[in-house]
């Protein structure tokens, strides 16, 4: 253990903003990665984890500056090295896997050429071109692209997200590094693809004996894969240790909160903390049948059925391209289906004109995925929540205050603009706005996916409470099976525009009838860890 691959000691990084002195992004962080070790760095957005690894790779943006501390690779101190010297370390010694595979490959160059470059920068000069080509193909195969010859001649846009990420792994491996740093390598990918990529990374460690430093926001992923975990908050390491110790005996309050918030670590549905309205009959409020939608040659939705019962939550899960957002758009009346019907309280919604549809809006509301784009940046909170009331000519002042209170925000927020709110607060405002007209049904399209785990947990609890109090029914679209377990009564699993399975959550999760559902469940990070903490 005397010679770690990467050792960061007491690193502090500042961001300069204007002429004022910097805001610290990383303060006094130390970490090390040993040969063959899988270390995870866990933190929510703004924790400084990305700045930390940018510092490790010498890729800090111009506004950032290392104020103190050192970075060593195998006891060679590289702190303050310029680009020319760092170029000898990058690729050669440390490989990097970026976050977003869709933006991280040069769109106008063939994949093969991009891998060949990575080989050529890091091998002795003067070898024949075929040698580079062979090495690049080898690297693509090692990254798990069996059809390396074909991928070699393709452009990035011709590959799927998972294949692009494998190509990037190939690029990281091409220089035969001793350690790989991966920055959220799977957060842009579907859960089943994520599992395959992570499996592969873990395999590479065994096979090549390299060290891996994984940066992630997903505690489940970290717990499942690593030898050791470091938890970061506000630029500092608040907890570190082996996985087993963290699971059983987390010392920091923040880690315990993260553990509690992780959806995969809850055994059952969230319980309401407010008074429950007793008269939920369980009658059908929203019924969709045979919904079909084509975009050009693509069948986005293929004869999908859905039933939402009063006072319950029906989750719609699936990976990208499953058609779940198309379904949500049709339910909310944003998109017209090519065939099929939607009924709200027995009233047919398909084929309504704009005016009739507007009347329906009082009972049927929608919450968007991204609270950073769904609120008009020029409106204050008061104007935002009052908008639907004004649209129907209803009095607003008193009602806006009540609604704010319902979503646990106080009146000091009335005159703020969205830019002055955090992500969670914004989503609270969006929910308050959706509730303004006293709707019976809410369609929630990935309504918590853009939020950090701890915030996500709060919003989910809020939704459960509101449902109990107001007798609301939810159609809840999500890609996250952990969230389904927390909030839903029924679940519909979708794949390629079709419904593959539907039923009560306990039944579907305990005994999935369809192979795809089983795959999805198995891919949830940290899924097998649940029993360990159920006590």
């Amino acid at each position: 253990m005397s010679d770690p691959l990467l050792r960061i000691t007491d690193l502090a990084v500042d961001y300069r903003t204007g002429r004022r002195d910097g805001t610290p992004a990383v303060r006094g962080v130390s970490l090390h990665v040993e040969p063959g070790e899988f270390v995870s760095l866990v933190g929510e957005s703004g924790s400084g984890k990305t700045t930390l690894i940018q510092g490790a790779l010498g890729l800090l943006p111009a506004a950032a500056r290392i104020r103190s501390g050192s970075i060593e690779y195998s006891d060679v101190d590289v702190t303050g090295w310029n680009d020319r010297r760092m170029a000898l370390v990058r690729g050669n010694y440390v490989g990097f896997i970026p976050q977003d595979p869709n933006a991280s490959l040069n769109p106008v160059k063939k994949v093969g050429q991009q891998v060949v470059e990575a080989v050529r920068f890091n091998r002795p000069k003067g070898a024949p071109a075929t040698h580079y080509r062979q090495a690049a193909l080898e690297s693509l195969r090692t990254a798990g692209l069996a059809d390396a010859e074909r991928v070699f001649g393709q452009y990035p846009h011709q590959l799927s997200g998972g294949m692009k990420q494998r190509a990037l792994i190939a690029i990281a491996l091409a220089g035969q590094p001793k350690i790989i740093v991966a920055d959220e390598p799977t957060s842009a990918l579907d859960v089943t693809v994520q599992k395959r990529i992570l499996d592969h990374l873990a395999g590479l460690r065994e096979q090549l004996g390299i060290g891996i430093l994984l940066v992630t926001h997903d505690l489940g992923v970290a717990l499942e894969r690593s030898d050791r975990i470091l938890v970061m908050q506000h630029g500092e390491i608040v907890e570190q240790g082996p996985v087993t110790r963290i699971l059983t005996d987390a010392t920091s309050e923040y880690t315990r909160r993260l553990l509690a918030a992780a959806p995969s670590r809850h055994a059952g549905r969230l319980q309401p903390t407010r008074t429950v309205r007793p008269d939920s009959s369980g009658a059908v409020v929203l019924r969709a049948a045979g919904l079909t939608k084509n975009y050009r040659d693509l069948r986005a939705l293929d004869r999908a059925d859905l039933i939402v019962r009063e006072g319950t939550t029906h989750a719609i899960v699936g990976e990208s391209g499953a058609g779940k957002s198309t379904l949500a758009g049709i339910l909310a009346g944003f998109t017209n289906a090519d065939a099929g019907s939607v009924q709200l309280h027995g009233r047919e919604l398909t084929g309504l004109n704009r005016k009739q549809l507007r009347e329906v809006r009082r009972d049927l509301q929608f919450v968007f995925q991204n609270p950073f784009t769904s609120l008009d940046p020029r409106f204050t909170v008061r104007k935002l929540i009052a908008e639907p009331l004004k649209a129907f000519g209803l009095p607003s002042d008193e009602r806006v205050r009540d609604l704010l209170h319902d979503v646990a925000l106080d009146e000091t927020y009335l005159h703020r603009l969205p830019a002055q709110l955090s992500g969670g607060q914004r989503q609270r405002v969006a929910i308050a706005r959706a509730l303004a007209l006293n709707p019976k049904v809410l369609i929630l399209d990935e309504a918590v996916s853009a939020l950090d785990v701890s915030v996500q947990a709060q919003i989910l609890q809020l939704l459960v409470d509101l449902q109990a109090e107001l007798g609301l029914s939810y159609a809840f679209v999500t890609h996250d099976l952990g969230v389904v377990r927390l909030i839903a009564d029924d679940v519909t699993v979708m794949k390629d525009g079709r419904v593959v399975e539907s039923g009560p959550v306990e039944q579907v999760f305990a005994a999935p009838a369809h192979e795809y559902t089983r795959q999805l469940l198995a891919a949830v990070p940290g899924a097998d860890l649940v029993p360990a903490v159920q006590s």
Binding site: G46, G333, S374, L375, D376, R416, A419, G423
Partner: protein
């Protein structure tokens, strides 16, 4: 996202204001640009405050006097003070520019908004027409329009304005299309707000900002276009001072008396550079 999430505490509006002032002081070029523009507006509004000389009456015995304390820009062939002519010329040129920008901005915004918001066939039809006007370089189009309307400063303004409608319309439409596809516009429809309400409350306010930045830029470009047409002789008849015309009048003697055209021309260039600098800062603030 991080900055947004953490930057909300405190009386943010007041802080934003004081920060803006602080930023301004830290950018001397921007401050200088504002000063230049304000002075020139002063020239246009109250020319007699800035010079004691008359722009028309000259002393023919003192023709082509080089720049001096008495005649800052020197005098022209007829012995008229060129600084005075530049100061009085500001009114002609700036009025024409203002008129041109108002025409281009107003009509362009309406056309772009209609195209972007209506979509479909209306959009296609409007944009094909806009294509045609973009295909004729605006200086050429302005020349043709002036030739039809007759030579005068007002007609120059009209011509420059009309020839820039198309580019305003295109920017406005692009911006409207971006805004229309934003979640908050879909959200407004979902909340039961009608089409007109969505347009007035969300689309127009959120689209205008980038068009206003373009309008600021167009002030500079407009001054150039007006002066260019004046230089070519399509503007006010000669005794009237106009910036382009001043340069044109001095041009015949440039070999011997270079200041006669270069100094008024430089004044013009400084004003345009200043407006460009200001419009750049406006665009950055929008982002």
């Amino acid at each position: 996202m991080t900055a947004l999430a953490t930057g909300w505490a405190g009386p943010a509006r007041i802080r934003a204001h004081s920060r803006r002032l602080g930023d301004l002081i830290r950018q001397p070029v921007l401050v200088l640009s504002w000063i230049v523009v304000l002075i020139v507006i002063g020239w246009a509004l109250f020319p007699s405050v800035f010079t004691d000389h008359s722009p028309f009456a000259g002393d023919t015995t003192a023709s082509f006097v080089p720049p001096s304390a008495e005649h800052w820009f020197g005098t022209d062939r007829l012995g008229r003070d060129l600084f005075a002519r530049s100061v009085y010329g500001a009114r002609t040129t700036l009025t024409a520019t203002l008129l041109a920008v108002l025409i281009a901005f107003g009509l362009g915004a309406v056309v772009g908004l209609s195209a972007g918001f209506a979509g479909g066939l209306v959009d296609t039809a409007i944009m094909r027409v806009v294509d045609v006007f973009l295909a004729i370089p605006s200086l050429l189009l302005a020349m043709v329009i002036v030739s039809v309307l007759g030579y005068s400063t007002n007609n120059i303004a009209l011509a420059v304005g009309i020839s820039s409608i198309a580019s305003f319309a295109r920017v406005m439409r692009a911006q409207v299309l971006t805004v229309v596809n934003q979640d908050y516009v879909r959200a407004a429809y979902g909340l039961g707000v009608g089409r007109l309400g969505v347009m007035v409350r969300h689309v127009v306010p959120n689209s205008l900002s980038s068009v206003i930045a373009l309008a600021a830029l167009e002030v500079g470009t407009g001054v150039l276009a007006v002066a260019s047409l004046g230089f070519l002789g399509y503007g006010a008849p000669p005794p009237q001072p106009e910036w382009g015309l001043l340069v044109a009048e001095g041009r015949d003697y440039v070999a011997v008396h270079p200041w006669a055209s270069i100094l008024p021309g430089l004044a013009l260039a400084v004003v345009v550079i200043a407006t460009h600098r200001i419009s750049t800062s406006l665009r950055k603030e929008n982002r």
